[in-house]
């Protein structure tokens, strides 16, 4: 076991035993890395409420603190002060474990998120640079499904159970296009490590090479977080509140915070996978500015997500399922096959670099143009097909109406 980074700092402070120093170093790292999302979520809730208010032509919270900045703190204190209810018929242990699993599944994702550039070994300030970073994200995020199922079942409430049933249908099916979209940056970088994926974008962001994959990832991550137009999990008008109906106080607060944090985490992931993460102006000279770039890029996707949430109406469950299985899944599979084929052919012909991290802008241009053209052609063809189907459906409806009119006239 080698002793680097924080471990060295701990050792220099007078901890002689290397394994103990390593342990303390890891402990500090864990607290720091999980502290970032915990602090962020306090302001995310405020940001979301403010933006939602503006979209709905309201002012939003503005009473507690300057510009309402302390509103979430007040809400937090209120939630903590509320009575902690466990329904008599609930499964006590699982009922209490569910909010914890839900929040943990989101915070755990942050372990593999690189925050800024670093000159030494992993190449970035990151909790842990796993070889399988992307796969780790998918695995950990799938625990969120488990949390919602457990909450729905343990509450012993019909609405909660119905909400949980929808989760399996929604989250498990939207994981398929999500993973297929994830495969694209992995293929480009030739690695599943988050740091390697960022390094591979040094000369060209993947969003220009794979806009379609970015779009697919965004749509399916929006569904994964269960937000409008996919918020069937807690469809208020149908299920009262969905899986978390029986939860009160801070236990509800944890589900709430987990959802908000998950949306922002998805924004950060999109920034890392498709927009180069911390890469940006002066990121090597002054690393902390990379943290700013990462936050800025993540916020763009976060804002689009909020925008959609407050603009679009909720879809029916069959529409959501149909959209996934008949549109997103075939498109994402076709996208992966075509991208892999083009990338491999270009690499064999010598027009595309095999090591994108050590290429140049000129070296990346041919493959970018070809892949961009492929995506544009795919989007045009798909949209053309969708438009054709829409016209046919409308024509069929029109014929039906005409027939009905004729019969009515005949009488």
């Amino acid at each position: 076991m080698d002793c680097v980074a924080l471990c060295q700092v701990v050792q220099s402070l007078g901890v002689a035993d290397p394994s103990l120093a390593r342990f303390i170093g890891l402990l500090i790292a864990v607290v720091l890395v999980s502290g970032v999302p915990l602090l962020t979520v306090v302001f995310l809730i405020l940001a979301e409420r403010k933006i939602a208010a503006r979209i709905q032509d309201r002012i939003g919270p503005n009473r507690v603190g300057p510009y309402g900045l302390l509103q979430t703190v007040a809400d937090l204190l209120k939630l903590l002060g509320k009575e902690d209810i466990t329904p008599a018929a609930a499964d006590r242990v699982l009922y209490n474990a569910a909010p914890l699993i839900s929040f943990a599944s989101v915070v755990l994702i942050w372990a593999v998120i690189p925050f800024m550039y670093a000159a030494n070994e992993p190449g970035a300030v990151v909790g842990v640079d796993l070889d399988i970073g992307v796969l780790y994200f998918v695995a950990v995020a799938s625990l969120g499904t488990l949390a919602i199922m457990t909450a729905g079942w343990a509450s012993n409430n019909k609405y909660a159970l119905l909400g949980a049933f929808r989760v399996v249908a929604l989250l498990v099916s939207y994981e398929i296009p999500l993973v297929f979209a994830l495969l694209i940056p992995v293929m480009f970088a030739g690695s599943m490590s988050m740091v390697d994926i960022i390094e591979a974008q040094s000369h060209m962001w993947f969003i220009f090479m794979a806009p379609l994959a970015t779009f697919l990832f965004f749509i399916s991550s929006q569904a994964e977080t269960g937000r409008a137009p996919f918020d069937l999990i807690e469809a208020e008008s149908e299920l009262v509140a969905g899986f978390n109906i029986e939860y009160s106080g801070m236990k509800f607060g944890m589900f709430f915070a987990a959802e908000f944090l998950h949306v922002f985490t998805n924004g950060i992931l999109l920034a890392i996978l498709y927009m180069g993460g911390y890469l940006g102006f002066l990121y090597q000279v002054f690393p902390p500015i990379g943290f700013l770039w990462l936050g800025l890029k993540g916020t763009i996707f976060y804002f689009i997500s909020l925008w959609l949430r407050n603009t679009l109406p909720r879809l029916r469950i069959d529409q959501v399922m149909g959209f996934n299985w008949f549109f997103l899944v075939p498109v994402s599979i076709l996208n992966v096959i075509l991208t892999a084929l083009i990338l491999k052919l270009m690499q064999l012909a010598g027009w595309a670099p095999t090591d994108m991290a050590n290429s140049s802008l000129i070296g990346m241009l041919p493959i970018t143009i070809v892949l961009l053209a492929k995506d544009v052609i795919m989007i045009v063809m798909i949209m053309g097909r969708v438009a054709l189907e829409g016209r046919e459906a409308r024509a069929a409806e029109q014929r039906l109406n005409d027939d009905l009119l004729v019969t009515a006239a005949g009488d």
Binding site: L94, L130, L135, V138, S142, M149
Partner: protein, 182 residues
């Protein structure tokens, strides 16, 4: 390993408790939903073993496939059959259970434990890492012609056949098709 790391041993003990405790929970609880949760706990402990063996890919796949997909489907099936979650009767067949358990134990002992019982020396993970470096090697082994491409394709075919079979069984026969079948 030259210096046996105390934290590695600690981690091994924790994962062993999680795995065995979870497995014990599966067979002792009468509540089916809790049983599936215990199963997930046990499978999670196994993922921990993979991490200790420096096989992070297998650990992630373990969590993704077993906990994220298979166990979730178990819970779904259990929740749909709600009357089964509050079982009070025991559906035990003691003799069959004992015979089955003993046979499985003997099979595992003879097939897996015995061949490596005395020959198995402690192996430094660094040596294993030199042979199998990362996930890339695993991927190449699965599709290269001197690797495992034949078993890989056979398993893929089998899974596809099973999937099609499941769809055929689950699909409802439509009205206009009934006549053709009869």
């Amino acid at each position: 390993m030259n210096d046996i790391n105390i934290f590695l041993i600690l981690a091994w003990v924790v994962f062993t408790i999680i795995t065995l405790g979870g497995a014990l929970g599966v067979v002792t609880t009468r509540n089916l939903f809790r049983g599936t949760i215990w199963l997930m706990v046990s499978l999670f402990g196994v993922a921990g073993y993979y991490v200790l063996l420096e096989a992070p890919f297998l650990a992630a796949v373990q969590v993704l496939v077993y906990i994220g997909a298979i166990a979730i489907l178990f819970t779904f099936a259990v929740m749909l059959t709600r009357s089964l979650t509050q079982l009070t009767d025991r559906y035990n067949r003691p003799i069959a259970n004992v015979v089955g358990a003993v046979l499985l134990f003997v099979l595992l002992m003879v097939g897996v434990i015995l061949p490596i019982w005395f020959t198995n020396e402690p192996v430094d993970p660094a040596i294993i890492n030199a042979q199998v470096q990362d996930t890339r090697d695993l991927g190449e082994a699965l599709v290269s012609k001197d690797g495992f491409v034949i078993p890989f394709e056979v398993v893929s075919l089998l899974l596809t056949a099973a999937m099609i079979g499941a769809i055929v069984i689950a699909r409802e026969v439509e009205e206009d098709e009934k006549g053709k079948r009869a």
